[in-house]
Amino acid sequence: MTAAPTAATVPPVTGEPTPSGRDRRPRLADRLSGGASSRWFPYVLVFPLALILFGYVVQPMFATFAESVGVDGVANYTEFLSGEGVARSSLLTSLLISAASVLLCGIVGVAMAFLLKRFQFPGRRLIEAIILVPAALPPLIGAISFQLLYSETGILPRGLQQLFGTENPVLPFTGIAGVLVVHTFTMYPFFYLAASAALAGMDPSVEEAAYNLGAGRVRVWRTVLLPMLTPALVSASLLVFMTSLASYTAPLLFGVDRTMTMQIYINRTNGDLPMASAYASVLAVVSILFLLGMRWYEGRRSYRSQSKGVAAHRREITNPFGKWAALAASILATVVLLAPVGTIALVAFSADGSWTTEVIPSAYTWQNFVTIFSDPKAFQPILNSLQMSLLATVGCVVVGVLIAYAVRRLDFRGRALLDVAVMLAWALPGTVVAINLISAFSTGNAFSFGQVLIGTFWIMPLAYFVRFLPLVFRSSSATLAQIDPSLEEAARNLGASWWRAFGTVTLRLMLPGVAAGALLAFVNGVGEFVASVLIYTSQTAPISVEINNRMYSFEIGTAAAYGMLQVVLIFVVMVISGRLQNGRSASREAARWSA
């Protein structure tokens, strides 16, 4: 990477003689400890991070690219550009699905954030606790639960069919619509978390100014709040876009095979590795282009409050209608949110084979849970998943926050590159990331300090770290965009070293965003499957692999029972973390916004 220090980063002091040997040493020391204002500091901070990213993400990506051109040159790429073939249409389908997912998730997520953070109504706390459950749905079983709910043979269409006595199931979701339903459900938390962190950190007087100038509520949202949320929305859009682009299970289940990831899989099955690599590279390029576009869009404006002093949320709303509407909307939201979990529960409690053409199962049993709990090693995968994703999350927080800081606040060469490097891991399908890691660590090399990591415990947390770093990075970066740098300057001015100022002021103010990212990283880590399945060992089998094995032998009941365990576990984590970080402040916030 181009992390080499360059003197041109900061305008040179003209007319200054080059420091003589005598006074060079103290000044160098000064610079290194100098913090954000030293011209060396950015590189000191960024270099190790860049190294990590280079080793684990960028370099393997180049390897993927090399693979794609290795055998037959650019032929694979011409297929994307020319011809009406599968390549182009899957690229278009993928783009279409991703763009639509961003839109839908944005609407749902921001609306939820608005309802929950701006209104006080009965049951708000409960919804806050379950809001992330869709993101926590176990892989495979989660997707299947959507199918059991909304597909042609699903509970809802069949229920409606019975209700109205129609000949065919009513309102089934198929194809792309089905994919979008799944995407919306599972990815809106990206928007929800980002938007609620940003709403909490926003300067409220700006909103007041808009009302004062005569803007109505809708207009204030359109012209002030949403634009001010841009960093958060950009961050969430990026994550959703890339997740959709790399999404595999949903298109698979709803039979949309003209997508990039499906084609990657098919080409791998075909044994056409160069073509698969070409798909992966195109995926990465599309993601990078989207990322750069978003960066540009966001960079045009400033989002940090320019107000003097600190303003509090002081606007008081009494709108009984709004309150009840919010309540009604939330009850609906709860039902919809919990429906997939409810479906998994139904499956978990129904006897195998007892649920065929009925709307809901006819026979119930405890057997699936008995099966799980009678296995002495049943909890091992759960513990494994917890431990590994916790480790990875800690790593993500440390590295992600620092990179976010570097990219937002420091002026150095290669800022955009660093940004791209982090996000790359998210843009690539998990399979590709895992294969990259295996190739990188199946022998000892510099990035693993000469250790062979394959076959050890550490490869799993490392994979999670690389995959989920973008989550923490993005949401930290979004909150950082709102924070007035003069706060950090004030701390520095009072004598705090960079580290101290960062820790006591900047980081503290970033916390809502960091916590949101960490939560996402953790939840995703617990459910990770695609990469895990390629690198786990029998000691480190995660819960997702266990679920998959049950699914594979079509013990769908026990798989669902495992899934239930995972959901309950993540729910508990969510409630605890909610209590810890924003439970109280969020309700205080909401209380202020309603009288």
């Binding site: 100038l213 005569g214 207009r219 107000s307 002093g309 303003a311 606007r315």
Partner: protein, 357 residues
């Protein structure tokens, strides 16, 4: 053009102890009037403005615009233009976009809006800054954008919360003339908060002096200055010596008091002051109404200079007269006057005035 009435309005903040930020305030502001709130920091000026703008609901009391009760009307339905004490500029918009925001909402045509924005920026001496980002402006420039944003929409009511605090004297003077002109022209009712008393005096039709959430006096600038109701007002508006002098007699609108040097003088007092001989009257006399003479002049109070501060137009002295510190502002000070010198003070008796404690 609308009059604004506050009827025994109070505001208490939940977590700030039990003292009210605004306490039973009654104010009636006539349509088209330029009304100023004056008072020490933290006395409740901003809170009052924010209730008029609709960002706080009064804990008790009502607010009327004309005959209508607007106490709970949402802020965007009030047609008030507010300059926030903290500016509250939209950081994601350029200077011109900030100023144009209210016009857009009022559906002013494109060309017309552009013209009005240009004009407003010109009025605050920021012509040519329209394309800048807010974070590329100096503090005073930001404040002027906030002002332009409120002025450009010509609201029925203007609420100005220290809109000139970060401007230099020169610009402040020019801008306040501009504000006054616009307000007069469009017949806007203006409520103004300032810390600059000269500004308040020069601009206002009437002034309310507040302290700890309560209104101490409402009146025209001269009235407040020359006839302060209380010692607090006397001291707060301009500077004032409030002397405690023994009452020796009096009429309905004046009292006779004894002076430190043994003389006596008749001092104007509010009608119905109720002071009797033997009681102590608080008499306010402004530093600039005390002349410096030689100690030998007849009727001059002798004193010793204890402090001396040059402030440009006048020199401020503190003179010790029989143990009481008297502030004096003198335009021309005898050359070479220094701390410790003996001087004579001549009180301008017709400018002395009895105040309530």
């Amino acid at each position: 053009m609308i009059d604004v009435t506050l009827e025994s309005v109070s505001k208490r903040f939940a977590r700030a102890g039990d003292t009210a930020a605004v306490d039973d305030v009654d104010i009636t502001i006539a349509a088209g009037e330029f009304f100023t709130l004056l008072g020490p920091s933290g006395c409740g000026k901003t809170t009052t403005l924010r209730m008029v703008a609709g960002f706080y609901f009064p804990t008790s009391g009502r607010i009327r615009f004309g005959a209508e009760d607007v106490t709970r009307r949402p802020p965007n339905k009030r047609d008030t233009g507010m300059v926030f004490q903290n500016y509250a500029l939209f950081p994601h918009m350029s200077v011109a976009q900030n100023v144009a925001y209210g016009l857009k909402i009022r559906k002013v045509g494109r060309a017309d809006a552009r013209r009005r924005v240009e004009e407003a920026l010109g009025q605050v001496h920021l012509a040519g800054y329209g394309g800048r980002r807010i974070d590329q402006l100096s503090g005073g420039q930001q404040q002027r954008v906030a002002l332009a944003r409120a002025l450009v929409i010509r609201p029925r009511t203007l609420l100005l919360d220290e809109p000139l605090s970060n401007l230099d004297a020169k610009l402040r003077e020019e801008t306040r003339t501009e504000i006054r002109r616009i307000q007069k022209e469009s017949g806007t009712t203006a409520i103004y908060v300032t810390h600059d008393q000269a500004e308040a005096m020069a601009m206002s039709d009437r002034i309310a002096v507040m302290e700890s959430g309560r209104v101490q006096q409402i009146g025209a600038p001269r009235e407040i200055y020359h006839r302060p109701a209380t010692a607090f007002v006397a001291r707060f508006i301009g500077r004032s010596n409030v002397l405690s002098l023994p009452v020796t007699g009096g009429t309905d609108d004046s009292v006779t008091v004894g002076l430190p040097d043994g003389g006596e003088t008749v001092v104007a007092a509010p009608v119905g002051h109720g002071l009797r001989a033997g009681e102590t009257a608080l008499v306010s006399v402004r530093p600039e109404h005390i002349g410096l003479t030689s100690t030998t002049e007849p009727g001059a109070l002798p004193g010793r200079v204890t402090e001396l501060e040059f402030t440009g137009m006048a020199t401020n002295l503190i003179v010790d007269v029989a143990g009481e510190s008297v502030q004096v502002a003198a335009i021309d000070v005898p050359a070479g006057l220094a701390v410790g010198d003996q001087v004579g003070l001549r009180l301008t008796r017709e400018r002395m005035w009895v105040v309530r404690p």
